[in-house]
């Protein structure tokens, strides 16, 4: 069975879990986008054992294995390859039997930007701050970038709470934060965020939405 991805597959009804997000308020002055559809090029090396009638399929599956899930500073996460635009002529490398094919492919990438305001779900809270996730991106908000009136509370469910107890940040809380820095390595993008600016902070508490 050919294992290839369709380019822009036919519309499927989007099965989604109940949205937890709230309507946006007009204070998201620097909102941006995260998903992009771009064309990238890569030189794929193939061992001679793969040569044959399934050469193209083997090239595509190798591309998927090599590229999907990786990330770069420029493009962000390569979430999924949607299609192959062009496979160029192979070039035999001197001294080895490997052949290099230039492959142009379309893919969906996910990239955070500095200055972007987005909503994330808290995954862990500790005295240094809290970790949140927005898609595949991990964001850390230091306690220095949490409003001063929120203090860390230890316990079974560590959290940051205001003095009057009205606002609480704990695991599974939704927060609106602003990205102030990013760090990229081969498999991950890690961001630093803040909730200290105006109109940033908790959107919903997991206790109230259940």
């Amino acid at each position: 069975m050919p294992r290839s991805r369709p380019c822009f597959p036919s519309p499927h009804p989007v099965r989604r879990s109940p949205a937890l997000r709230s309507p946006v308020h007009p204070f998201r002055l620097h909102s941006g986008n995260m998903f992009f559809h771009i064309v990238l090029e890569r030189n794929m090396q193939l061992h001679p054992r793969h040569f044959g009638r399934d050469l193209r399929e083997k090239l595509v599956s190798k591309l998927m294995k090599d590229v999907e899930g990786t990330c770069s500073g420029r493009h962000g996460f390569v979430v999924a390859i949607t299609g192959i635009e062009n496979v160029g002529k192979g070039l035999i490398r001197d001294g080895t039997g490997f052949v290099t094919f230039p492959v142009k492919y379309q893919c969906v990438v996910f990239r955070p930007f500095k200055g972007e305001i987005l909503e994330a779900v808290v995954t862990m809270v500790n005295k240094m701050g809290f970790f949140a996730e927005a898609g595949p991106v991990q964001i850390f908000v230091s306690n220095h970038l949490i409003p001063d009136d929120m203090e860390f509370q230890t316990g079974d469910m560590p959290n940051y709470t205001t003095s009057d107890g009205s606002v609480k940040i704990q695991k599974d809380s939704e927060v609106r934060l602003k990205i102030i820095g990013t760090r990229v390595d081969a498999t991950e993008i890690f961001c630093i965020g803040t909730i200290k600016d105006d109109f940033l902070g908790v959107i919903s508490d997991p206790g109230t939405t259940s």
Binding site: M1, R3, R5, P6, F8, P9, S10, P11, H12, P13, V14, R15, R16, S17, P18, A19, L20, R21, S22, P23, V24, H25, P26, F27, R28, L29, H30, S31, G32, N33, M34, F35, F36, H37, I38, S61, K65, E68, G69, R74, H75, F77, V79, A80, T82, V108, F110, R111, F113, K114, G115, E116, A134, G135, P136, K178, I180, I203, S204, T209
Partner: protein, 260 residues
Amino acid sequence: MTHLWRTPVPWLGRKISKLKLYAVISLNPHLASILCSSFLKQKKMSDKGGKGGKSALKSPASKGKDDSAKLKGRKVQFDSEDMFDEKFETNGNGKSNGKGDTPFSKGKGGKGDKGGSAKKEPPPLLLNVEQELPENAKCLMNCEAAQILQGIQDHMVLLSKDPTIKIPSSFDRALQYASTGSFYTNPQSVRQVLESLKKQDVSDGEICVIANTGIESSKKVFALMPSLKAKKTNVKESLTTALTELKKLKTVTESTIVLD
């Protein structure tokens, strides 16, 4: 500090080249700190009046006696006149003008200039999507991304039979993020409605923000995107129409929370 490398330093009565100075510094790392401190002191002295620079320069050398002992037979002499060679070449003499501004305070030195000038506030954090991505990048609305990824996931049920193909965890997280972040189930209709705004020079990114945020009021759109506010007079009417159409397409879910 970088400016020091440009001008040759007198060494045993003769000038030495930059490379030799590098070699000496690499052999004696302490010399780098002595050079820095002497330069800073010289700068302070020149700010005050410029005179007595020589004595200020010599004092750190005397402090670093251990290092100077190692450099026996080699006197590191920083002649202030030579340090200002670059500036005073045209004067024809080696004497300092005694003024506060030195070559180190000029932009060339970089570090020296940064050290001397007042600290500038960092520029505000601006979102520069277009400049950071390649030209062929197309902004995707969350609903579009959710549709594409959902389709791929359905095909992955077949692909998963092959043990060599592993689904990256970033895929599932991205799909979940896109799904929970979208208000619409029919991205094609949304795109069709918002395409009309392109005639008014609304960019692709701005269109996607409108779709992703699910805003219903044009006032809020202009507040959200200052770049769109600049085109307000041209865009307002068509934007209001588009938002009205989008409202009809929006899916109302049980857990939509309305905050006042």
